[in-house]
Structures are given as structure tokens and as C-alpha cells.
Symmetry: C2
Subunit: 494 residues, 2 copies
């Protein structure tokens, strides 16, 4: 089954059924994006437009039906009106297409249940797998498969073109979204935050391929380091638990399950006709199969980044290293509020810190209790020597590193990031970073840490909550008795 | 007393005592910044460097003592070593300086309690008010008083200069910070988020001027629309309650009180020697005097922005208007989680929505229960007509507007922002906006809304939580029986 799912992302040839000459139409945008990716050398698949009324579109020969295409076509994206979809599916079946993404809306979401059933029957008859209908479809940052049909740019009155629907750079997170609009917003958000993506799927009404299939596939695709999924409901509950339980031993899975409250569940019902169900049941299911739950949109991406980039924590004892007292206090508050422990350092660590003070390696007025506050007099070297002590302490399971870059003792932002990143990578303990601010310098440091797969955040609380995700995942792996093995196999993204 | 506090921000003449020729020294940076602001025409005050060892600095005549300066000097910033501060304070007293900001560290924060007492005694003798010591001091975006001494730029290896310590643009929020590093990070953060500032004060050890004095002053300075304060402790508890109680009838006050947990309180004790006290006492005190509490750093600024820009809500019944179902569900969840109500629309509103559907003004498949989801087929006109209905409904106290800009029906971002902003400004109900994403288009819309003082946020939850602050403030004003009057006097920032 995994093999068929792989055809969606990695087909030999993809047909765009409903390809259009009109620039604003989804059938045009999708074809154009695929051809562009082919031109760039990213997409290796053959691309065939299908439209009985056109001879060629964008300079490419157009076929009246998918059946008329010479040679193998293993995948198709369908953008024709809903009522025509069954006929087109028949054609696909006869042609031997195995992976079909149906973008078209107008099915069960507006009451056309029978039409949807018919489509599914045809799929079953021919052994076709379906993503959709009523969805955005797929984006694969590596293979260049891209069915996102929203306009790339918005044009201002003065003619300026603003990028509106960017695609994130290639990375290690795979995302599933039950909401198309949110999915698209997510791609926009991830681009802005410089979070790379592997595969993205918006499956709309999910009449066939669902989160179970996708989790199974992502956990073995060799590139996904974390799965994040926005859900409003899960239909195959038991299957989900068994799939997620197996997958989460290999890679972390984050879920943002909306419809938590009565009001939210009601809203979800009118959105995707999803019976959101009692939230406690989802909570228990996620707990059971090691799925890390995010409780808001920021956590969703923050957790994904932390879990994809850093090793899980072996426990809940967290150290804070800071050059600003206030931010340290906020982090300590949040650690306790999140149910973790502000680590009590080992005797050795305490003695070594004392020594560092006596030798003036760190300021005598630094606070070396946890949070360790090396103050506004801090330097890159002080950060590094302190960070090493913390990472070496067996009573510390993870470090929240707060780097307020404004101080004069960090004259070279490059030295700072390089030195600390290399120190972090030489241990197998998770570190999350907080850099507050929106200045060029603040953005630069966050980007540089992220580039090195040290997850950075603009507030102390977000860095702490992301550490909490790493702790939660680590404790789950421990409960399952596989933590040591997982850590042995874990290596930083190079 | 207010008059003396005003001298800090608006002096006739300010002396920089400890002005230095060495470029990296605070005594140089401060003088340079003041002279630059004078050059730009922002700062109207006279600026006098004081340093017995220099004849001139940066082309400006230097005086051996503040007493040698001809004419009035009503304010001074002191950047000399701690042990010399008493002598310098004596000089200030004799010269008639009334407002002194002491940047210098080395007082009670490292155990030099006696020295600090001595400084305060001298101040009392001469009727001098002190901000500090051990602080960043002041930034006033309108008058150009600026004592922030951190380096403006960080230089990369290739010679690129990255702005590191930006100042926010002039605005309507005044900020108090008990943490210098956090204060500076806050200026960086606000700049990045395009949040304007009126006055900023970092008061360090706060031996004299404290939050009580500042709240009193800000609430009458005519420009402050919201006060935000980062606190680790409050010493004059009763005074605080009486001052804040009075001030919060005029302007909203937001507090981020760190040291909420045992771990945080311990950290605060070693940071500012603050006895953080039992958090419940602070909670009750804030509740009593109408101070809106923020529970993390993002809320702190988010609430400040909402409260400065929008009118308070007359109740807790909130409507959501969206073009993306998923984001609507998330907002509905958060409304309920925040203890507010997802509004049940009035009969009239329901009928009017039905009519809009029948007349195809909005899509027939739109969901017009709350959240109102006008779907990916939405247009600017649909947004506007729906928003009007919601703002007119007496059963709606505030609207969370979710604008996922990606859809083709919003071809002109300018039209969208202008039309909706003008609609919002024609009612007296609060609106918060959510625009998800980091693309040029997403950033553009958020900036344009913010420029028009419609607070916008990158996640549904942050928009909802900010609405919660407006509800909380409104309910406080109602409890005090002044809501109607407040609203009558309230007008949007023009």
C-alpha cells in the first residue's frame, strides 16, 4: 500500500485533468506550477494536460482524455466540475492511473453524498487511491509535485507584486491538513518562519487516503523527521491508534485537533461535517499512541520544529541559561507551569560554576543557580563554557538557551551561533533557543540557529513549551522502553 | 509631583554626567544618541556633556561639573562609577537638577545597600526624583530623550551592519520594565512588530520613581492609550492599588508579573532581589484595580496593542468572521477556552444572513452560524456586508476577523484593508484581526491594519486572547459604572 501512496509524490507521469487556458483557473495554475518545476529541474515526472477543448496549453500538447496519453500515466490531478469526476475516474481506471488527487469541490461538503460514493466505487473497482476531493492536494518540496492552485501574487495599486502563496523550502517536516485554507496559510507561515517542509497534504473530504495512510507512509519515507497534522476528526479510530503507535516509535507526530470545546466542535461540524467527538477521547488516544498534542497554532509549528530538529529529552529536568534576568524568570515560571522541573544542578556542576566565578571566567555577580544568569556582561565564551557544564550535568535533561543579543559581549553574531551550535551538536541533549526581538540582528540569529537545526523562538515561553514537547516525546519513548535505542540511532541533521 | 516626573521626558536641558570619548562606553552612546536626536530636530532640550577630564566630546563643549553649566539644567543622566554617584548627586542638588536617571550599576543589586541609601538621602535633601540606579533609563519617542546605551549595530564578517537595538516608532503605548535586558528586548520586539511607543522606562532598582509614579503620570500625559509593565515585584502595594484603580478608569493597564511559580519567584529573588510574594495576592490586587494581566510575553504586547487601539467590549459575546473553516474552529475553541461566549446571533441578524444567501450576496454554502464562514469564495464585499451585520447585532460584543488573504476573491489587498478598516471605525465595538502567514502579502495586510489601529495577529488564538483583554477591560469599566461614559469619550486614533 505504501507504494501506491508514494505515486502521489513521486509519479512517473502526472496528468492534469481539467487543465485550462484561463490564467486564474486552478486547472491553469496547477499545470503552470508543474511545468515551472520541470523547467527548474526539480520535477522529474512527465506532465500531461488533459482537456478535450484544447490542442495545447502553455506550449504543451493537450490530450482529450487521459486514455489518449501515450505511455504510462500513474498519477492524475482532477480539476473538472464535480459532476464530471466519475467519468474522468473511469478513464483513469482504464488507463491504469493509480494515484488520483481530486481538487474539485461539490461533493459531500455540500450534500452530494451519492456523487462522492460513486467516485469511491470506481476507485475501488480499479484499485485507485484518492486524495480529496475538495482539497488543495499536494506539495512535495523535493520532487516538485505541486497542486496548490491559489494565486502566487497579489498586485498593489502601484504595480508592486507581493508574494502571497509562497512554498516553504525543502526540509524535514511533513504536514497533513484537514482544512485547505489552513493548509495554505500553514505553507505561508512556514515560509515566513523559515521552516522547511518535506511533504504537504490537504485531503479535504478524505474519502480514501487519510491520516492513517499518510502517517504510515511518512514514517518510512526516509526524510520526514516529524509529522504535524491539523485534524477536525478521525474516522478510523482504531486503525489510527495502531498506525500512530507504530510510527511514533520512529518519528514524532504532532496533532492540532480542533473542535476541542463545545463551540469549536459545533463549528467543525459545519466546516467539514466532522463529528469532532468528545475531546477527552482524542486526548486519551493521542496519549496512548505517543502523539504530541499542540493546543494552538503556534505550538503546532513550534513543536514540529523542535521535534524534527532536536533529540527527545530523557527526563523533565530543565536548565535555563540566560544573559537577561527577566527572561530567565519567565522561563522558570513556564517550566513549572508546563509541569516540568527547574533542574537542581549536581554537586559537580555547582562546584565548577563556583570555580568559574573565582577564576573570573564568568562574572562574580552571575547567578549560577538555575536559571543561570550570566548577565549583561556575558560573552560568547561565557555562554559556551556554561552551556557545556549544563549539557554535561546528568541532572539536566534539556537546556533552554536565552540569548538576548543586544549586549556588547556578543560582538560577532556569527561566532556566537557557530560556537554554541557546534557545542549543542556534540551532546545528545535537546536545546531550544529564545531570541527576543524583530530587529535585523534578532532575525539573523534565529535564522542562523534554525539553519543549523537548533530550534529558536521569539519568546521564552515558546522555547520552554517546545522543550516540553521534547520531554513528552522522550518520556513516551522511555515508557515504551525504546528511548536508549532511539537516541543511539538519532543524529543531528547535517 | 507629576510635573517633576515630566522633567524626565521633557527637560529644558539634560546633562550627561560621565560623558565619554570612548565609542563603546554607555557615556558616549547616550550622548551621541541625544545629539543625533537634536540634530534630527526631534529633541528640543539642551544637551550638556559633563566630564572633568575632557574639554569637548563629539564637538560639544564639556563641563567639569554639572555646576559649571551656565543656565538651567533640570535633568541629568548619570553614567559614572557607583562610588562617585553621591558626589555627583550633591552637585546636581546644588545646581537645582530635579530629575536624575542613574544608569550606573553597583548598588543594592550586588549588596551595596548603604551606597544606595546615601544616594536616596541626597535626593530627598534636594527634592530630586531618581529613576534607577542599575537601569537602561528612558526612551521617549516624541521628545527624543533616549538613554539606552546598547550598541545600535552588530557587524558581520562581511562588513554588513545589522540593526541590533532599534527604537519603536512613535505611538500610544507606554512601557515600564523592571528588567533592563527585557526592556531592551521589548523595544526590539515592538520595532519588529510595528508597535509604536510613547514612553519607555527601565527603572532598575527603583529606589525612588516606581510604577506608581509612572502609572499616575502616563494616565495624564495625554498621549498614552495603554500602559504595559513588566514587573517582578511591587513594593508600595497599597499605593499601587489606589493609583492603578484611578488610572485604569482612564486608560487600560497591562501587567506581566513574573515570578508566578515557586521556581520563578526564586529566580526573581536572585535577579532583582525582589520578594515576588504569593502570586494569588498579585492576582487579586490586579483584579481589584482593573489591571489586565498577561500570562506570557506575547500576550503582554498583544494585549497592549489591542487595548491601545480598540474600544473595550461591552460584554463577552464574540462573533467570528472567516474565509477559512479551520481557523474559524480554532477561534471558536479559544473563545470558549478563554471563558467568553461564541455569540448566538439575534433573529434579525439570522434573517439578514439568510437573505444575503438567497440573493447570492454571499455563497449559498456559506456557514452563517457563528463562526460565520464565507469560505474560499469570499470577496471583499462579502466580508464587508457580513462584518456590518455582526457589528450591528446587539448580541455581539466584539468581532474576531480572520482574513486568510490567499483566496482569489481578495484581488486588492488595499481595497480589503481600507474598506474593512473604515467599517470597523464607524462602530464602537472592538475588532481584532487574524492574518496567518509570513509572506509579503500577509505581512502587508497585518501592517496596514495595524497602521489603522486595527490590531492584527498571526494566529487565531492570539486574536481571540487579545479580544479577551478588551472584554476584561470592558467588564471592569462596567463594574465601576463608567463603561458608557468611557465609550462616549472614546474615539479611534486618527
Amino acid at each position: 500500500m505504501s507504494n501506491v501512496i508514494d505515486l502521489f509524490f513521486n509519479p512517473k507521469a502526472i496528468a492534469v485533468i481539467g487543465a485550462s487556458r484561463e490564467e486564474e483557473k486552478p486547472g491553469h495554475v496547477i499545470l503552470r506550477n508543474l511545468l515551472l518545476n520541470k523547467e527548474k529541474g526539480v520535477l522529474k515526472s512527465e506532465v500531461y494536460p488533459v482537456n478535450p477543448k484544447a490542442k495545447e496549453i502553455l506550449g504543451v500538447k493537450c490530450y482529450p482524455s487521459v486514455k489518449d496519453i501515450p505511455g504510462i500515466v500513474d498519477s492524475a490531478v482532477i480539476v473538472v466540475p464535480a459532476r464530471i469526476v466519475p467519468a474522468v475516474m473511469e478513464d483513469c481506471g482504464q488507463k491504469g492511473v493509480k494515484a488520483v488527487t481530486i481538487i474539485s469541490a461539490g461533493f459531500s461538503e455540500i450534500g452530494n453524498v451519492e456523487l462522492e460514493k460513486k467516485v469511491l466505487e470506481i476507485a475501488r473497482k480499479y484499485g485507485i487511491r484518492i486524495i480529496g476531493p475538495n482539497c488543495l492536494g499536494i506539495f512535495d518540496a523535493y520532487t516538485g509535485i505541486d497542486t496548490i492552485f491559489l494565486p502566487y501574487y497579489k498586485v498593489l495599486r502601484d504595480g508592486r507584486k507581493l508574494l502571497s502563496a509562497p512554498r516553504p523550502k525543502p526540509g524535514y517536516i511533513s504536514m497533513i491538513s484537514q482544512s485547505g485554507a489552513l493548509g495554505n496559510a500553514a505553507l505561508d507561515y512556514m515560509s515566513g518562519e523559515n521552516i522547511g517542509i518535506n511533504k504537504f497534504v490537504s485531503y479535504g473530504n478524505k474519502i480514501d487516503v487519510d491520516e492513517c495512510d499518510l502517517i504510515e507512509y511518512f514514517s518510512t519515507d526516509g526524510k520526514t523527521r516529524a509529522v504535524i497534522m491539523y485534524l477536525e476528526n478521525i474516522k478510523r479510530g482504531r486503525k489510527f491508534i495502531s498506525v500512530a503507535e507504530k510510527a511514533s516509535l520512529k518519528i514524532p507526530i504532532v496533532a492540532l485537533k480542533a473542535g476541542r470545546t463545545k463551540a469549536g466542535a459545533k463549528a467543525a461540524a459545519s466546516h467539514t461535517a466532522a463529528l469532532a467527538g468528545v475531546d477527552e477521547i482524542y486526548e486519551a488516544a493521542f496519549e496512548k499512541c505517543g502523539v504530541i498534542r499542540a493546543y494552538d497554532m503556534e505550538e503546532f509549528f513550534d513543536f514540529g520544529k523542535a521535534l524534527a530538529y532536536q533529540p527527545p529529552a530523557g527526563g523533565d529536568k530543565i536548565a535555563v541559561l540566560t544573559d537577561g534576568g527577566g527572561a530567565g524568570v519567565m522561563a522558570a515560571d513556564e517550566i513549572e507551569l508546563q509541569g516540568m522541573k527547574v533542574a537542581e544542578f549536581s554537586k559537580t556542576t555547582k562546584e565548577k560554576f563556583k570555580e568559574l566565578k573565582e577564576k573570573n571566567v564568568i562574572p562574580y555577580f552571575a547567578s549560577t543557580e538555575n536559571p543561570v544568569d550570566i548577565t549583561g556582561s556575558a560573552t560568547t565564551e561565557m555562554y559556551d563554557v556554561s552551556l557545556r557544564l549544563l549539557l554535561e550535568d546528568p541532572q539536566v535533561d534539556g537546556v533552554v538557551l536565552i540569548a538576548l543579543h543586544h549586549i556588547p559581549g556578543i560582538p560577532s553574531l556569527e561566532d556566537f551561533v557557530e560556537k554554541l551550535s557546534s557545542t549543542i551538536k556534540s551532546y545528545s541533549k535537546p536545546v531550544t533557543v529564545c531570541v527576543i526581538g524583530g530587529s535585523e540582528a534578532a532575525n539573523y540569529i534565529r535564522e542562523e540557529f534554525d539553519k543549523r537545526f537548533i530550534p529558536s523562538y521569539p519568546s521564552p515561553e515558546r522555547a520552554v513549551r517546545s522543550m516540553r514537547a521534547l520531554v513528552k516525546y522522550g518520556l513516551y519513548l522511555k515508557k515504551k522502553g525504546v528511548f536508549e535505542e532511539y537516541l543511539k540511532n538519532w543524529s543531528p541533521i547535517s
